[in-house]
Amino acid sequence: MALARPAAVLLGKELQTEFRTRELLTTTVVFVLMVLVLFSFTFDPTSIESRRFAPGLLWLTLLFAGSLMLHPSFTREQTNDTLAALRLAPIDPTAILAAKILANACFLLVAEAVLLPIFAALYNLHVWPVLGRMCVVLILGTLALATIGTVFSAISSQARMRELLLPLLLMPVLTPALIASAEATAGLFDDPAYLSPQWVGLLAGFDAIFLTVTWLFGEYLLEE
């Protein structure tokens, strides 16, 4: 409860600011669409091979989009030193990270909601019959991306060369989650479609571990 109330207040602030400025969402959606369209010209969208590549392309695109979107998460708190204002408030510092993680996950999910029908059309994939199971994979994978990305955004925001540091930190740590997401997505495009419990379990475990680590060490991540 001590975490939930301030996290909800800060999540409201994040959403209010983003939906007012639309800086992150616009940039990310445009970027994602460009990458998908470019990839669709590289592969023959009607071939079976293309369907084998599609899950990997989808998650690679989301990784690029995520590193683009997550970088400003903490750097924009440097304007007017607003992160200090949040740290001055009598709240659990983890609430700041929780709000950022949830906000980033929301923004990525909105971008994915725009992207998914276009992705399905460009790569000739039948998403509708597996939409429910696809949402499970997208939510778990997005949560992994948002959690790790937000944590590393907090760490890298105080470093020099921060623009380079975030992708460098993000990609190796996210690799297991990306593999699991891509494999689980690939199962959904198989004939017959199936949702692999192993890969989904790995994704859920990854999320649980990193959310717990964030909760335990959140206070230290935000220190000057």
Binding site: V9, L10, R20, D81, L88
Partner: protein
């Protein structure tokens, strides 16, 4: 009348720095600073650039963890220091070097956000009550990015006063304020001081806010160089320190 709504702090907080050190790499920002500020005191921190004033204020606000030493906070009448950092933060208001406000939010939204984070009841009303004495009520729906430097500073001060702090930390609070703004700030500090709030502020130039100062402390190269509690009249020490700075 208007100021009173912002300055209803009933008890000050005593703060004690015990042998504080803060290192950034091999450089000491603070070196062995020990200082006790009693509840209700108004202390001015003076010293040249880089002497450690801002770092000491950030240590006092719990934004910066000291490399060595500790800071204790006592509520008036309590035998034991406050142990929970969240309880300490509930009693602290801070005006920092930057304004600590969101440019994309309006003045009212900013104050409402912080009122909610401080767990204050009726946050919208509290925000409006804080904006009125700052002279910003008519601009309540304007984003902070549209404000002038002086208006931003007034809003920063209003934000710091929202939780009715028992310890007010001010880092050069008169920056950007015109004479009327400095007069307004001087009145607020006088009212807070008389209500028992502890005030610790860093200062560079002479301004109206100095009339409230009951004690002056000079830092030099991260060390405590002079304290008017031991060496005499704070106003005279303040004037001498500021004159030396301006002459340097």
């Amino acid at each position: 009348m208007a100021i009173a709504s912002q300055t209803n702090s009933s008890h000050g907080v005593t703060v004690e720095f015990q042998n504080i050190e803060k290192r950034y790499g091999v450089r000491y920002a603070l070196h062995g600073v020990s200082l006790r500020i009693e509840a209700g005191e108004c202390v001015a921190l003076v010293g040249a650039n880089g002497s450690g004033k801002t770092t000491l204020l950030r240590v006092a606000s719990l934004l910066v963890r000291p490399s060595a030493g500790r800071v204790n906070f006592w509520e008036t009448g309590d035998a034991h220091p406050l142990a929970d950092p969240i309880a300490v933060k509930q009693r602290i208001g801070m005006v920092a070097h930057q304004i600590l406000l969101y440019d994309d939010l309006t003045a009212e939204e900013n104050l409402e956000l912080f009122a909610k984070l401080y767990g204050l009841d009726r946050p919208k009303d509290r925000a409006a009550a804080a904006l009125e004495p700052a002279g910003l009520l008519s601009r309540r729906n304007d984003p902070v990015r549209d404000f002038s430097r002086g208006m931003r500073q007034r809003l920063a001060i209003a934000r710091a006063l929202l939780p009715a702090p028992g310890l007010l930390l001010l880092d050069e609070p008169a920056t950007g304020l015109d004479p009327a703004g400095q007069h307004w700030l001087g009145e607020i500090l006088a009212r807070l001081h008389s209500s028992g709030c502890t005030i610790l502020m860093s200062t560079h130039g002479l301004s109206e806010v100095h009339s409230v100062v009951s004690r002056a402390v000079r830092l030099a190269a991260g060390c405590l160089a002079e304290d008017s509690a031991h060496s005499g009249d704070p106003q005279r020490m303040l004037a001498a320190a500021l004159a030396a700075e301006q002459g340097a």
